[in-house]
């Protein structure tokens, strides 16, 4: 069987997810054995236009981006959204909640009109996405598992339990049970990262997106219980999940 042709594309983002792929080390070399990488700008000047699987990183943030992603969708058999920017629009969506004229002026002054930019959107706002690999940045193991499932004709899947499940398994003291409770989105965020943020003493900021049927009412109740202001709630949801209400 011919090796599947794989391409990587980046849109507006920090490129941390592509770099995560590049940092697979020895496993990257194994990956290059089982697939043919035809387009990986970050690593190669060769530009192939014929591919089966397209990994797309980043958010759609300009009218040119819209044209480009439509073209990629036409060519790719399978389109995978790589990372939070592609999945939920990630941190790029933060700016959607500002006055667009003002922020353009803030950065580019009176030249703001020169640059093509639109509200930041996830890939599936423009084209159909077959699979998502969430997180900011993607998890190496999850990426490798995904690729091997896809190559072996198994349907890749994501865990549908919350981060809290993994956090409890790790034996962490819950952020809400600390003497000075810390806001944490673990209860409504899709697990699979191994609760790395709470485990490193920080809080879950929701980068893997919401679990299906997330109980946002219970979350709201919890945050109210701890006296979190409406403003702080919005701030926190709007780290990665500002556009959630607009998604199915």
């Amino acid at each position: 069987m011919a090796k599947p042709k794989v391409a990587f594309f980046d849109f507006t983002c920090c490129e941390g997810c592509q770099l995560t792929v590049l940092s697979l080390g020895d496993k990257l070399l194994d990956l290059f054995e089982s697939v043919e990488v035809v387009n990986f700008r970050e690593a190669s000047s060769y530009k192939g236009q014929d591919y089966d699987i397209a990994f797309v990183e980043g958010s759609i943030a300009s009218s040119k981006d819209i044209e480009r992603i439509k073209e990629i969708r036409k060519r790719a058999k399978v389109l995978v959204a790589l990372g939070a920017c592609a999945h939920t629009a990630g941190v790029n969506a933060i700016r959607n909640f500002h006055n667009q004229q003002e922020i353009r002026k803030m950065v580019y002054g009176d030249k703001a009109w020169v640059f093509d930019s639109i509200l930041a959107q996830p890939i599936d706002a423009i084209v159909r996405v077959d699979y998502y690999i969430p997180e900011c940045p993607i998890d190496k193991e999850e990426f490798l598992r995904f690729v091997s499932q896809l190559l072996n004709n198994m349907k890749p899947f994501l865990p549908d339990y919350p981060v809290c499940v993994e956090c409890k398994m790790k034996g962490n003291v819950c952020n809400y049970h600390k003497p000075n409770p810390i806001i944490c989105l673990g209860p409504v965020t899709r697990g699979g990262c191994g609760a790395i943020c709470p485990s490193a003493g920080n809080a879950c900021e929701g980068c893997r997106g919401l679990i299906p049927d997330a109980n946002l009412e219970a979350m709201e109740w919890l945050l109210n219980e701890y006296g979190v202001s409406a403003e702080d709630k919005f701030r926190f949801y709007r780290m990665y999940n500002g556009l959630m209400g607009m998604k199915k």
Partner: protein, 443 residues
């Protein structure tokens, strides 16, 4: 060759981080125009930071760049600490220095081996080298693995640190973990460094010189990445809080990345600027490495940026060993800090004496400045970020303007190749400030 017409348009320069195009226009042997166009969609980080509580701001700042996430985190933290008058402990600062050097190692290994080297072998990427030069590829992978392990162990993840926060760390490495890392760093110095040096000493870099205004941090105590005053070879030494008097950002129509200019003309930041300015403070092995590579300070050849990066790889490995040894001899204290609580947190904020702060560090690609104004609620009111590539853009164009007339007698392919190599040599991170090179010739 006089009377020559040349029109080069390189669409999407490859093996650089972000999307950029090169444009050269020569009419009758006279250079009309040289441009490095940045066509990346604007990112608006400053706008993303405004209205944010500072613990969130640090994590958002990290997302400006996947490869320099430690540097952005450090600059962000330092700006906040400067504004809130927080003085971190020696231990915290030492751990941050180690992290910064680990990031330099990671980023330089990526650039020098994976992105720059294929040019010298006429290859489109490093991938075919896995079979032709397996040893070299293995060495690069070892460096990257080591850097990732250091970050993983110290801050919970290699890209976008989790536990590195204002005033310290939410989780601390143990002495055992640091001792383990130290062993691996020493092994890399012994096994991988000689292979790297042997490989790079055989590469011939293009000859081209243009003296630039070299700008970087200076610090009497060490070859600085984390802290120091800013020194420009033309404007002298000045304090980080005075940067606005010395650095001017301008919006140019052909670039979504703002260009930054020195007081009089373009300036260079990054590995070569640091090497030229601070070479005397390099660790002994790194000085030795520079000799082996034939790199003498000052070098006015921008293609030598890659060599300066190789020297810095050696320096960072040695410096990290020294810092870890110091840390272990003092013992690691449990100085864990907590993320500010969710309610009533402003009550726990340190009294703010200043309302604004500036954080400056040396990112892998050079000077990185974050400046924030913070209000009494610990929320960011205004932000300004000056990214290394934005500072180098004007200098790259100045280099191209001088280089093109010198090589006009060569073939279009050669000229294009030299220009692409020049751009790649600066290791521009265009996604931060602006992707594959397609060449269109119009005659």
């Amino acid at each position: 060759m006089t009377g020559k017409d040349l029109n080069i348009y390189v669409h999407h320069v490859t093996r650089v981080e972000g999307h950029g195009n090169i444009l050269v226009d020569v009419k009758n042997g006279e250079l009309k125009e040289v441009k490095l166009e940045i066509i990346e969609s604007p990112r608006f980080f400053e706008a993303m930071l405004v209205g944010r509580r500072f613990p969130e701001a640090v994590h958002i700042a990290s997302r400006i760049c996947g490869i320099c996430s430690i540097s952005h985190t450090a600059a962000s933290i330092k700006a906040i600490e400067d504004a809130l008058d927080i003085k971190p402990t020696w231990q915290t600062e030492t751990l941050r220095k180690i992290l910064m050097e680990a990031e330099i190692l990671d980023s330089h290994a990526l650039h020098s081996f994976f992105l720059a080297v294929p040019d010298f072998f006429g290859l489109p990427s490093v991938i075919p080298m896995a079979s032709t030069n397996p040893d070299v590829v293995k060495t690069a992978i070892n460096f990257k693995k080591l850097a990732h392990e250091i970050c993983d162990v110290m801050v919970g993840r290699h890209t976008h640190p989790i536990s590195m926060v204002v005033d310290g760390f939410t989780n601390l490495v143990t002495e055992e973990q640091m001792a383990e890392l130290l062993k691996k760093i020493k092994a890399a110095l012994k096994n991988d460094v000689p292979k790297m040096l042997e490989f790079f000493s055989r590469i011939k870099f293009p000859d081209f010189e243009r003296k630039a205004n070299y700008t970087c941090l200076v610090n009497p105590e060490m070859y600085p990445f984390y802290d120091g005053m800013i020194k420009s070879s033309e404007a002298g030494v000045y304090r980080h809080r005075d940067y606005r008097q010395k650095i001017v950002e301008r919006v140019v129509d052909h670039s979504t990345a703002k260009h930054a200019f020195g007081p009089v003309k373009p300036y260079m930041v990054g590995a070569l600027a640091r090497f030229n300015t601070n070479y005397k403070q390099l660790m002994p092995g790194a000085q030795e490495a520079a000799k082996m590579l034939g790199l003498e300070a000052p070098s006015y050849n921008p293609y030598h940026i890659t060599l300066a990066q190789v020297v810095e790889i050696v320096h960072c490995l040695e410096s990290m060993s020294r810092l870890i040894e110091q840390l272990l001899s003092r013992g690691i204290r449990d100085e864990r800090v907590e993320r500010p609580p969710l309610a009533g947190w402003s009550a726990r904020l340190p009294p703010a004496k200043k309302s604004w702060g500036v954080g400056v560090v040396e990112a892998p690609r050079g000077l990185l400045i974050h400046e924030y104004r913070i209000n009494g609620n610990g929320t960011i009111d205004a932000a300004n970020c000056i990214i290394p590539t934005a500072q180098n853009l004007a200098n790259i164009e100045a280099d191209m303007r001088e280089l093109v007339p010198q090589i006009l007698d060569r073939s279009k392919e050669e000229i294009t190749q030299l220009l692409e190599m020049l751009v790649r040599s600066y290791d521009p991170c265009i996604s931060c400030s602006a992707h594959l090179l397609k060449v269109d010739f119009v005659e």
